[in-house]
């Protein structure tokens, strides 16, 4: 199963902090050796300021109370830095917490800086310290604080590069505090600035888009409208090319989102094309399922893949929540497609396909017919479902065309010659 486990791939494109939930999840699921995960966690925390946390894990992992000296050193280092930063940042925080000051801010950054300088004697050093402090807080795992600080810093930053990193920081912080509304907004802004940035090389843009898509997974799969937004974002040409070049594994999430989201069937064709095109680079049960169903029309295969999908989804941090939804939608997918090309289906066979017993299957179909989603009749004597055909004969369509023609010609003739009724 681990072969379809994407955590290690995803981690390459995620922030350290954003990887953490994934590791926790993996630990819960027990896909990997627990000790390995703990060690991974320590490695992850090594570069952050969450030293205490790292120590705890260490203790748990090795069942000791001893902590390596490097960690202790790191701890004092962090504390010292915290103190010095705190000191540097105190005046500006005091000033910015005053709502009157904020009100005086304008969109003009230069003005803001000038204003602070004149009114409160706050220079670039303090402002820089503010940024460093918020980064520090973020590294400490104090995400809400970091988010607030960044919010405060944002009107004061001057360079566009800094602006970008503030936005990234904001997105990460909001995501980690699970404030998804704010995160969605941050995501939108970030995307906008990514698309508008003119100075970045194509390679950088590609990289950043890939990051954005990965980071957004956290947000999209946790919000109601996220799946829609995900489809929108991922199908943008620029992002789609980033997927095909850099991160084919994201197709899994796109595919899952499309399957789950019934309203977005229209993008299916496009998705299938991409999946097919990239199948030599990436394929997993979810994409294979779509491929079986819509390329090969191999319903048995699709059924098989669906079973595989189940376990894949179960072990995917992002998708685990939509497992049942996905399975239901997928089943409907199979059924719908099946019905499209059959005029008569044995219910026994169908129930087998749908993993239901005969009664339930009949009920399910009946429900579908009732809700007008299926034009069919059940022939209970033969035990079959007979599809209603809405075929129109060639003659009819010809007649239709001819009728339309005559009407239009008449109008035109009237217009040209002048209708007798309107003649003066």
């Amino acid at each position: 199963m681990a072969s379809y486990e994407l955590s290690s791939t995803l981690a390459r494109f995620l922030d350290k902090h954003l990887c953490f939930p994934l590791l926790e999840f993996l630990q819960d699921k027990g896909v990997y050796n627990e000790e390995d995960i703990m060690r991974a966690k320590i490695a992850l925390l090594q570069n952050t300021n969450m030293v205490d946390f790292a120590m705890d894990i260490h203790k748990e992992l090795y069942q000791t109370d001893e902590v390596p000296a490097t960690m202790m050193e790191r701890r004092t280092e962090v504390v010292n830095r915290l103190r010095s930063l705190q000191k540097a940042v105190d005046p500006i925080i005091g000033c910015l917490s005053n709502s009157n000051v904020i009100r005086n801010f304008r969109h003009d950054r230069a003005f803001n800086l000038q204003f602070l300088k004149e009114e409160f004697d706050i220079g670039p050093e303090q402002i820089e310290a503010l940024y460093q402090f918020s980064k520090f807080q973020f590294d400490c795992g104090n995400y809400s604080m970091a988010s607030e600080l960044l919010q405060a810093y944002k009107p004061l930053c001057t360079t566009s590069e800094r602006n970008m990193s503030v936005q990234w920081g904001k997105l990460a912080a909001d995501t980690l505090t699970q404030n998804y509304e704010a995160a969605t907004e941050a995501l939108l802004r970030l995307r906008e600035s990514l698309d508008n940035q003119s100075f970045a090389t194509p390679l950088m843009q590609l990289q950043q888009r890939t990051w954005l898509m990965h980071w957004s997974l956290h947000v999209f799969w946790n919000t109601e409208s996220g799946k829609n937004a995900l489809i929108d974002l991922f199908l943008q040409p620029a992002y789609m090319s980033a997927i095909t070049i850099n991160a084919q594994h994201l197709l899994r999430y796109l595919a899952a989102a499309v399957v789950v989201n019934r309203k977005r069937r229209n993008v299916l064709r496009e998705l299938i094309k991409v999946i097919q095109q990239e199948s030599y680079e990436y394929s997993d049960p979810i994409t294979q399922f779509l491929e079986c169903l819509f390329v090969h029309y191999d319903f048995d295969g699709a059924q098989q893949k669906l079973i595989e999908c189940e376990s894949v989804i179960e072990h995917d941090y992002f998708l685990t929540a939509i497992k049942s939804e996905f399975l239901e939608s997928a089943r409907l997918f199979i059924f719908e497609t099946y019905c499209r090309i059959h005029q008569c289906i044995n219910i026994d066979m169908l129930s087998e396909r749908l993993n239901m017993d005969k009664e339930a299957a009949e009920k399910w179909i009946a429900n579908l017919i009732l809700s007008a989603r299926l034009n069919a009749k059940i022939d209970s004597k033969a035990g079959t479902v007979v599809m209603g055909m809405q075929s129109s004969s060639m003659q009819e369509s010809l007649a239709e065309k001819a009728k339309q023609l005559s009407v239009r010609t008449f109008t035109l003739a009237n217009a040209v010659v002048g209708a007798p009724a309107t003649k003066a």
């Binding site: 680079e281 004969s393 339309q404 217009a415 003066a424």
Partner: protein, 1010 residues
């Protein structure tokens, strides 16, 4: 005065004697002697006047005549004391002067000899004789000056050479040839005459001795000077006797100077001066790339010289210098860019290059650098620079590139079906070894500017090799290395010595006169592959390594080429997807037209290979799109540089033809044309046959492959078709079988092609073809015959096409979903039930007719609306309806079916709509009636003009359109009354199309109407 006259007298006397001795009948001689005798007095006086003058005598001779009187008078008026003083000066300097005059003339003759200018030589020879007399007179010596004798001997030799060379003789101009003949006669007489015969024979017997005494000999001849050690001299003497005989002038001169220089100068100075002289000669060569060296320089001689110098060079840097020069002059030996370098010569170059590389490897302190100061100005042995490195001028990369080019050229020319070609290909490992060495060397000295160039050359030797070829090459390399090792063991001196010995023999052979002998000797030159060279395990690894270097450091062209080579290589190894991704990501296809032709050819080759790769993998449509453009062009041979097409209608100038010839790929790099053709046509067939079957009535609907259609048409028109012979025949036979759904017949025809033997994965390709043919046959069958069935059993289809159930199911389902097949599965009975909406022929034709009629109505409506401003305007907006209609047309699928019209409609729709919208607004804002029409007219004009819509519709119904009142009514009911009145006068908009635009705005006309 008297003495002066005496000298003058003796001068003329002597000359006359000389002339009589020669018994020369040449009129020039006579005239010159008579003129000199007549002007003897003035001659001498002018001599005395211009004792410091170094002008050539002929000048003063010519200018003497007018000066005669004055000169004589001047001489006569001279006082005795004056003349005495004069004489003293004259006597003192005259000897030197005469001698230098003689040498000058000799040099001039030599120059003329180099360019084969016999008429000039003749003149100069006369002059020389004159001067000889004067010199004798001045020096009062009895014998003949050595310079003169030597000149005579040289002249004679040269004359004989020239006479022996028939070709040269033929090329001579008539005057030149005449002069040559005269010279022959004169020289014969001259040299055999009593006075000179003895001197000449003496000279011939013992030239060294003569020259030893020649103290006046200038330093220049020391260019060929010699070293002091006996060992090295021995080497000189090792030269074969035959060569020594011809060349002894040089070599003997050399040895003569050894002694001279040994006495005269310190060794180092000799070496440097020699080195300098050597490069001095070469310096010019370097500068004038096209005509290297001085005109007429005996290149062969130079090579000899350098070869010799290389053996005696002092110090490693100098040896390198000499070797580098040697390579340069070896290149000079091969004529022109259109001819290829002789194989033997090439091999010699290789040997020298390898020697250079060995030297460089052994002496890490020496850096070859083309930016280093040329050694010309150096007088002392180059000292190590501040970094402990000795810089030597040289451009290894240029040499490597030249060698590569020469090899390429020779492969172009040699007949690929001969043994010679194979032998030539065997030289490749050595070249690779050399390039690799140069490459490593450049990497060592960190020359990132040139490194990619060599890397690219190597890439271009690797990219077209399949694994099998590459392995064979590796084995060959190892074999050659073993042989080299064995021969090295046999010769105790080691491989390098053996190599140089080989070079020696080659050199000797090269210098011999008979070309045939030269050829054989050349070919015998053994080229040992250096032992320290090893090829990468696989070509992929080699490519990866080299391409990486090019991508990091190379320039744009090198990068593009490396990229294309990689694509080719990947495609060749069946890695279609990554090759395609590389091609697409590099955007090469966008700007390949801007690149040089050879890169374009490489691009075409890559595309062809990509197509073949796709074909092998069974990606038919990809293969088709790759190959279609190449094949469809009809110039595939030229596009791939694999031969010249004999175009009926295109006449190429010889220059064009030559250029094209130079571009040709050597045979071993060719992509099989037949394979390309089969792949392309089979792909086209697989795509085209079902498409044709699906819409039999509108074949022109979408043509996938034009060339395929063309061929098919030709075959269909044939009255009799014989059994298939060519590729096309086979594929056409397969096509006809496939059209009936007979996959096995099609497969039989296709698999009978012989080209499949060229495909390494023959079995898998044929399997793939079988599978594809079955699938397409099934599709074709269903397309063609489904109308005849009420239901079709799945099992029957399975047996018919020998496919498994799943595959048939998949294909049929796909067709159902795409609505290609009007039927559906009946699951319990495992059959396909056809729905009888499949149109009969009449029905579908009727349908088409209806579509066309609809289109016509549509056009009429639009043409009408375009005059007036909207037909179906049910809403307030004047042109809203039109806009909608335009929009709808854009989306409506049925219009696209109608070929060109539909397409145009699509483009036109939105634009027209926009125009309408403008009109509508106008109508509303201004009460609707006045500006409305005008606005419409203007708006529509824009739309139509842009779409290029012709006016045939309007011309169809011209005068109907002039009345637009009622129409207006319909558009806007509250204008009813006005509209009916305001029918404009006839003929206003009568002209079709353009005419109508010139009419006044609607408002004006309306006024008129009112």
């Amino acid at each position: 005065m008297a003495s002066r006259f005496w000298t003058a007298g003796s001068d003329s006397d002597e000359e006359e004697v000389d002339a009589s001795e020669e018994e020369n009948s040449s009129s020039e001689e006579e005239s010159s002697s008579s003129s000199s005798s007549s002007s003897s007095g003035s001659d001498s006086s002018s001599d005395s006047d211009s004792d410091s003058d170094s002008d050539s005598d002929s000048d003063s001779d010519d200018s003497d005549a007018p000066k005669k009187g004055a000169a004589r008078f001047l001489a006569g008026s001279d006082s005795d004391s004056d003349s005495d003083e004069d004489r003293r000066v004259v006597l003192k300097s005259a000897k030197d002067k005469r001698f230098s005059e003689l040498t000058d003339t000799c040099d001039e003759i030599r120059n003329k000899m180099k360019i084969n200018d016999w008429s000039a030589i003749q003149g100069l020879f006369d002059e020389l004789n004159k001067r000889l007399e004067r010199a004798r007179k001045v020096s009062e010596a009895v014998g003949t000056p050595r310079v003169y004798v030597r000149m005579c001997v040289e002249l004679e030799d040269f004359l004989n050479d020239t006479l022996a060379n028939k070709d040269l003789k033929k090329k001579m101009s008539s005057t030149n040839a005449k002069a040559l003949n005269t010279m022959r006669q004169r020289l014969k007489k001259h040299n055999t005459s009593d006075e000179f015969a003895e001197a000449v024979t003496k000279f011939r017997e013992n030239p060294q001795e003569d020259e030893e005494e020649e103290e006046e000999e200038e330093e220049s001849s020391s260019s060929s000077s010699e070293s002091d050690t006996d060992g090295e001299r021995e080497e000189t003497e090792k030269r074969p006797a035959g060569a020594a005989k011809k060349k002894d002038k040089l070599l003997t001169m050399d040895s003569a100077e050894i002694t001279y220089e040994m006495v005269a100068k310190k060794l180092r100075e000799i070496v440097t001066s020699r080195g300098r002289k050597g490069t001095d000669k070469q310096e010019q060569l370097r500068e004038i790339v096209t005509s290297r060296g001085r005109k007429g320089t005996d290149k062969q001689e130079q090579v000899e010289m350098l070869q010799f110098l290389a053996n005696v060079a002092k110090g490693v840097p100098q040896k390198l210098e000499v070797l580098l020069q040697l390579v340069g002059s070896l290149f000079d030996l091969s004529p022109g860019i259109s001819n290829y370098m002789k194989v033997g010569l090439w091999k010699r170059c290789m040997l020298v290059m390898l020697e250079i590389m060995d030297t460089l490897q052994a002496n890490e302190a020496i850096v070859l650098d083309d930016s280093a100061e040329p050694s010309e100005e150096r007088t002392a042995e180059p000292v190590a620079g501040e970094d402990g490195k000795v810089r030597v001028w040289g451009n290894l990369v240029a040499f490597v590139e030249r060698l590569d080019d020469e090899m390429f050229k020779s492969l172009q020319v040699i007949d690929p079906h001969t043994h010679e070609y194979m032998a030539r290909l065997r030289d490749e490992p050595v070249f690779l070894a050399l390039s690799q060495k140069v490459h490593d060397y450049l990497a060592r000295i960190g020359d990132v500017r040139n490194q990619p160039k060599v890397a690219l050359r190597l890439i271009e030797h690797f990219y077209y090799k399949t694994d099998a070829v590459y392995d064979a090459m590796r084995k060959l390399t190892m074999l050659q290395q073993e042989e080299a090792a064995a021969s090295a063991a046999a010769h105790p001196e080691g491989a390098v010595a053996a190599a140089s010995a080989a070079a020696e023999t080659a050199a000797a052979a090269n210098t011999s006169n008979e070309p045939g002998e030269e050829q054989t000797a050349d070919d015998k030159v053994a080229l040992p592959v250096p032992l320290d060279f090893s090829m990468d395990e696989s070509s992929t690894a080699a490519m990866k390594r080299l391409v990486g270097i090019v991508f990091t450091h190379g320039d744009e062209r090198a990068k593009a080429r490396a990229m294309l080579c990689t694509i080719y290589h990947k495609a060749l190894h069946g890695d279609f997807h990554s090759a395609r991704d590389m091609l697409l990501m590099s955007h090469l296809q966008d700007n390949v037209m801007l690149m040089d032709i050879s890169t374009q050819i490489l691009y075409n080759r890559s595309m062809a290979q990509l197509g073949l790769a796709a074909f092998r993998l069974g990606l038919i449509s990809e293969a088709h799109s790759c190959l279609q453009e190449l094949y469809g062009s009809g110039h595939i041979k030229e596009l791939l540089a694999q031969g010249m097409a004999m175009g009926k209608f295109q006449d190429k100038t010889p220059e064009q033809e030559l250029l094209e010839k130079r571009r040709q790929m050597p045979f071993h790099m060719h992509i099989s044309m037949e394979l390309l053709e089969s792949s392309c046509l089979i792909s086209a067939m697989l795509l085209e046959v079902p498409a044709m079957a699906s819409s039999p009535l509108s074949v022109k609907k979408r043509v996938i492959s034009k060339s395929f259609h063309r061929i098919l048409d030709t075959y269909n028109r044939q009255t009799f078709t014989g059994p298939p012979e060519t590729v096309r025949d086979h594929i056409m036979a397969a096509t006809r079988a496939l059209m009936r759904g007979d996959w096995s017949g099609a497969y039989g025809a296709v698999s009978a092609l012989t080209v499949w033997q060229l495909v390494p994965q023959r079995e898998s390709v044929l399997d793939m073809l079988k599978k594809q043919l079955k699938e397409e046959a099934l599709r074709t069958y269903l397309f063609s015959y489904s109308a005849q069935y009420r239901s079709l059993s799945l099992d029957q289809l399975c047996t018919m096409f020998e496919m498994d159930e799943k595959a048939v199911y998949s294909i049929v389902s796909k067709m159902m979903i795409a609505e290609d097949l009007h039927g559906s599965w009946d699951q319990p009975t495992r059959t396909i039930v056809m729905h009888s909406i499949e149109a009969t022929k009449v029905q579908s034709l009727a349908g088409q007719f209806a579509d066309k009629a609809t289109l016509m109505v549509e056009l009429n409506e639009r043409a009408y609306a375009f005059r007036t401003g909207g037909l179906r305007d049910d809403d307030d907006m004047g042109g809203g309806g039109g806009g909608r209609r335009g929009g709808r047309r854009g989306q409506d699928g049925q219009w696209e079916d109608d070929g060109g019209h539909g397409g145009r409609g699509r483009g036109r729709g939105p634009r027209l709509g926009a125009a309408r919208m403008g009109l509508g607004q106008g109508g509303q804002d201004f009460g609707g009636h006045r500006r409305g029409g005008g606005g419409g007219g203007r708006g529509d004009r824009g739309g139509f003009r842009a779409s290029g819509f012709s006016s045939n519709m309007t011309s169809g119904l011209p005068d109907r359109f002039q009345r637009r009142g009622p129409y207006r009514q319909q558009a806007n009911p509250n204008m009813q009354a006005l509209g009916s009145i305001s029918r404009p006068g006839g003929g206003v908009g009568g002209g079709p199309g353009g005419g109508s635009y010139n009419r006044p705005l609607g408002g004006d006309r309306r006024d008129r109407g009112l």
